[in-house]
Amino acid sequence: MLTAHFTFAPKFRAVYSGGAPLALIASGSNSSYRAILSLPATPNSDGSPSDRQLMQQIRERQPQALSRIYDLYSTLVYSVAMRVLRDGAAAEDVMQEVFLKIWQQPDSFADQRGSLCGWLAVVTRNRAIDRIRGSRQFENVDDLQLSNKVDMGAEAEREMMLEKVRTVLNTMPADQRQAMEMAFFEGHTHMEIAEQTGQPLGTVKTRIRSALSTIRKALEVSA
């Protein structure tokens, strides 16, 4: 099922090609938006269950679905946690917390909120930042939605896009990258970054925005 989460755009264009996931492009008068798609309901091309099918199986309390999701995404989840926490035991704790949340509260991830791997990456990052801060700041914002032009459920396409993102991150100006990493992976507020780097607050915000914009533009070119 295809679900778009905004209804005010005057034009919709749906694209479907063979067994590939649907794409929906909507455009308004001033801006264009990328649609938030449901996960594909059909199995993957190798016959294995899709993320959506796995999540449905988890709702039906089938442990093999959790095993499968762990096999697919534990490296990603652990890597993100390690990047933030830089501590193996703490990273495993966060990883357990994330996968337990999937098992115990599968509805916290709704299919139409974007790709499962993207959701896992952001939730893991948020959980790890919470752990650094000793807070539960993000606990109530896991009902987040993500949007990407890329079909993040397709491994080949995902890897290609991630390689592009890595290239962009490695080639972007050092001050942009530093600001984004301090905000995203170290959980610093913009004010803290400004104090630590000695840069004006406005400059810090601009650098973070530019870094995200650079990533998005690189993906839009290749999408």
Binding site: H5, F6, T75, Y78, R158
Partner: protein, 284 residues
């Protein structure tokens, strides 16, 4: 903030990054509950951040982490793994059915088809071989390009040298060249010869001026007199033009013969193998 007053992109970014506040009464949070437009913007921002997170260097979780997870969740990992493998091969419905049967204990275990490790590794080996071959080709290509550049530079340099040498030869050997021998003022011009000799290359350039016209069936012949006392070496015959000018350019001579002197004799047409006295011009 109302649904009509959208937060700026930086505020959304701030909220998305989780700073400074994600409290329930946060104005951005309240606005997002009402505004589809800003929710779409937030989804885009989170999508970008997800990519940034997913691009981190990949680290495999520690061994035993999966067992600990399943233990914490109170699940049977062995059964889940077995069913998941089967499900990966046979599809959802079939696997679900098998899983249900397995729960009753009446399952007849099916041996899942396995991909031969040889086939799996074969693909990686082939890919690695292709990569190695491509790198080798690239290196070879770079080496050949450098060699081509070097050789092209050498060719250009050689061409320039050859062009200059050709100009020198053209001036020395052209019948149209004006040849003038300068002597003391009011002195009567005398026959004279000028030899330039490179012993190690056996290269000789000789010019003469004010030579007397030759009798019929006669020729002038140039000689190199070796410093080691061996017999004179013939260095070519020549005939003066109407103004008494003549030249011998790069006659065929052995290399490495140091010259004590040079001489010119009058010989029969066709030249001689030994000089005939008298020596008309000599220098050394």
């Amino acid at each position: 903030m109302t649904p009509d007053q959208h937060p700026g992109l930086e505020e959304l970014m701030l909220y998305c990054l989780g700073s400074p506040s994600a409290a329930a009464d946060d104005p951005v949070r309240l606005h997002l509950k009402e505004c589809a437009h800003c929710n779409a913007q937030m989804a885009l921002l989170r999508g970008d951040m997800a990519l940034a997170a997913m691009a981190v260097p990949q680290i495999a979780p520690p061994a035993g982490a999966k067992e600990r997870l399943f233990q914490t969740a109170g699940l049977d990992l062995a059964q889940a793994t077995k069913t998941a493998k089967l499900q990966g091969k046979t599809g959802n419905a079939e696997a679900t059915a098998v899983s249900s049967v397995a729960a009753t204990g009446n399952v007849i275990p099916m041996k899942p088809r396995r991909v031969s490790p040889g086939l799996m590794w074969g693909g990686w080996v082939a890919a690695a071989a292709c990569l190695f071959f491509a790198m080798h080709l690239r290196q070879a290509n770079q080496g050949m390009r450098q060699q081509l550049q070097t050789e092209t530079a050498e060719i250009v340099q050689s061409n320039n040298s050859a062009a200059r040498a050709q100009k020198v030869l053209d001036v020395l050997s052209s019948p149209q060249a004006q040849r003038v021998t300068l002597v003391a003022a009011h002195a009567k011009p005398e026959p004279a010869g000028h030899a330039v000799y490179l012993a190690d290359r056996g290269a000789l350039v000789f010019t003469a001026s004010n030579l007397a016209p030759l009798p019929a069936n006669k020729t002038y012949e140039l000689w190199v007199i070796p410093a080691n006392g061996t017999a004179p070496i013939p260095a070519g015959t020549f005939q003066p033009d109407a103004r008494g000018m003549a030249s011998v350019l790069l006659p065929k001579l052995p290399q490495g013969v140091a010259a004590k002197a040079f001489g010119v004799t009058l010989e029969n047409a066709g030249g001689a193998s030994t000089p005939t006295m008298p020596i008309l011009l000599a220098g050394g």
